[in-house]
């Protein structure tokens, strides 16, 4: 199940008839051959499920002050002799259950990751399609901007965009606005890779004769780009999107850790790590360790999936 979820965007936009086709495909075969990939997929699926159903799995709602009790603050994990049910991974200073905080933090991290990837992919694919298909000056302008942007680290661009956005929108933002700014800044810092890859594929595809056949019957350029070229350049995009999902989650965590990301009232994994960092040297290691482990495992699992996907979709390596 986890596997099909991961593969769905690539090969199965339509149901039933295509499922059999997919289960018979080389991609699926290479998936079932690699135990590591299956493990990574299972892990990713568990993370996503726990994030989506955080309200069900978490023993308390860490954002509801009524559920917090200062008497429960700074409890160690359950297996420590000081530990206490139901606080599996201990609690923080405010008596917040770390496990619950991780689940809700995971939700924020994944949300920012997915939205950031969706935004950057949309932007990058659109610009790549236009640059590759139209060519000439349009191509030159788009790709030079991309080149220039590539000389800056993505995190720097995200920080810059984040700072500018906050300055423009005024000093204090509510949680939703912060999240939007984060998605926007992550999106802007990752579109280049999509644009370059898509442009490269478009340059190959647009010289194929099926495009000539479409031009021959007088289809306008946007129709040819969307109907004919786009479906044929999505393979590599899927690989980038998967790997970038991990990168986006890390970028968000970094921004939150640096204090420009999600606020403590709606913490992501990065925010949790920042909070926990303060207690690292006073002995309450679990406050920072478990969110850190969760983040590392999530990113690792997604990266493994991305690596496998790249190999599986590349006919030369098959």
């Amino acid at each position: 199940m986890a596997e099909t979820l991961q593969m769905a965007p690539a090969d199965m936009p339509a149901p039933t008839s295509r499922i059999g086709r997919f289960l018979d495909s080389d991609v699926w075969a290479s998936f079932t051959r690699s135990k590591l990939t299956m493990l990574a997929a299972a892990l990713t699926f568990v993370f996503i499920a726990m994030a989506v159903f955080a309200g069900v799995f978490a023993p308390q709602n860490p954002f509801n002050p009524a559920e917090l009790d200062l008497l429960n603050s700074r409890m160690p994990p359950l297996w420590d002799e000081m530990g206490q049910a139901p606080f599996l991974l201990g609690t923080d200073e405010q008596g917040r259950d770390i496990f619950s905080a991780i689940l809700y933090g995971l939700r924020i991290s994944l949300l920012v990751g997915f939205l950031g990837v969706a935004f950057s992919a949309t932007l990058g694919i659109t610009l790549g399609l236009v640059a590759g298909y139209i060519g000439g000056a349009v191509d030159a302008v788009i790709m030079r901007i991309a080149d220039i942007q590539l000389t800056f680290p993505a995190i720097l661009i995200a920080l810059l965009v984040d700072g500018v956005a906050k300055a423009v929108l005024g000093g204090h933002l509510d949680e939703i606005m912060t999240l939007s700014v984060l998605v926007f800044s992550i999106g802007l810092s990752f579109w280049v890779q999509y644009a370059r890859t898509v442009r490269g594929s478009v340059l190959v595809e647009k010289n194929k004769d099926y495009i000539a056949a479409a031009r021959l019957i007088g289809l306008p350029a946007p129709v040819i780009m969307l109907r004919h070229i786009l479906p044929n350049v999505l393979g590599p995009v899927l690989v980038i999107a998967t790997i970038n999902l991990a990168l986006a989650i890390i970028t968000e965590a970094t921004l939150s850790f640096l204090g420009t990301g999600m606020p403590e009232t709606m913490p992501s994994l990065g925010t949790l790590i920042r909070i926990g960092n303060n207690y690292l040297f006073s002995g309450e290691w679990w406050i920072v360790a478990f969110p850190g482990i969760a983040l590392a495992l999530l990113v690792l699992a997604i990266n493994l999936l991305g690596d496998w996907l790249r190999d599986a979709l590349n006919p030369r390596l098959r």
Partner: protein, 334 residues
């Protein structure tokens, strides 16, 4: 010929800029470079006829094909189909109507069909684009009809191109060309990617369709035997120019231009008749830097000074000084 020919191609030229990028030119020096892919090509095609352009790589035959259908704008010259100019702005409205009647079949059936589309959707696309039939049911029926027309099963419409062999894909491409009720089909090396037994199937199919539907073909090929089998008239191209135009069989029984003769001699002889042949000399020169005068002169056994200076015009079907001056010994016919 009293009425106007269906397709008129008049002094068509196409120049490609093959210069290095601007920055490289500035840093490394070097002029802008141009490639004259097509250099003054003129021919007519009557309705219901098959006119073939034959030539080796770099002869410009495919560039002509792309200009005729309007995929590539000519640098100069004009293509007129059924009285409508393909480049004149005044004819824009009529040209849109003309587009439905012109189709093309491409060389590589693996690249000419969108791999993500079902065959049925591919064939239906021209029908939808020109709004020829309304209603999904009627379109599906027409697609089925077209599929059986080209020797496939109507149910094949649900399959994807990769499920077909090369020959079957070319049948799909033909069905797509017929979908808009085209009258004029430009075929760019339609069988050169196919095996011989499959080539025979496709060539037979194309001839059958011509007989049934009265199609007009512009047939591009490097294969002289295929061209002989298909064409009623043939133009031989060399480095962007037509060097000889002739009625189909005549080109093979009494070729005039030295290049045509050389080309015919070079074709491997399947019949093993042991015919006499002149050994072939040299290779096609770099088209960026073609020889002055007649482009064939460095390889031509009959070249003289005039040939290196003057471009021979196409006169009574041949562009050759030696022929026009009567210096040509009668060819020992194959």
């Amino acid at each position: 010929m009293t009425e106007r020919p269906f397709v008129e191609v008049n002094d068509l030229r196409r120049v490609f800029d093959v210069s290095k990028p601007w920055l490289n030119r500035v840093l490394e020096g070097g002029e802008k470079q141009y490639l004259k892919a097509v250099d003054g090509v003129t021919f007519n095609i009557a309705k219901g006829e098959t006119f073939a352009l034959v030539g080796e790589s770099g002869s410009g035959k495919s560039t002509v094909a792309r200009m005729v259908v309007g995929l590539l704008p000519p640098t100069s010259g004009e293509v007129t189909i059924d009285g409508v100019s393909m480049s004149n702005a005044a004819d824009a409205a009529e040209r849109r109507r003309l587009r439905r009647r012109i189709q093309m079949i491409f060389q590589d059936p693996y690249a000419s069909l969108n791999p993500r589309w079902t065959v049925g959707r591919i064939i239906a696309e021209p029908i939808r684009a020109f709004s020829l039939i309304e209603g999904e049911k009627d379109i599906a029926a027409r697609v089925g009809e077209l599929l059986s027309f080209v020797g496939l099963h109507p149910a094949d419409g649900a399959k994807y191109p990769h499920e077909f062999s090369g020959g079957q894909r070319q049948r799909v491409a033909i069905a797509r060309a017929l979908a808009s009720d085209a009258e004029f089909i430009v075929c760019d090396e339609p069988t050169s990617a196919l095996d011989v037994s499959v080539q025979a199937q496709i060539l037979n199919l194309m001839r059958d369709l011509q007989d049934r539907l009265g199609l007009t073909y512009l047939f591009i090929s490097h294969n002289l035997a295929v061209v002989r089998h298909m064409a009623s008239r043939i133009g031989v191209m060399y480095l962007g120019r037509i060097v000889e135009v002739s009625e189909g069989r005549e080109l093979f029984t009494s070729p005039k231009h030295p290049y045509t003769r050389m080309l015919l001699d070079a074709v491997p002889d399947v019949g093993m008749t042991g015919r006499q042949r002149i050994p072939v000399q040299g290779e096609i020169p770099n088209p960026i830097n073609p020889p002055a005068g007649c482009t064939f002169n460095p390889r031509c056994p009959l070249a003289n000074e005039r040939c290196t200076a003057e471009i021979p015009p196409l006169r009574s079907g041949v562009a050759c000084h030696a022929v026009q001056e009567g210096r040509l010994a009668p060819h020992i016919a194959a």
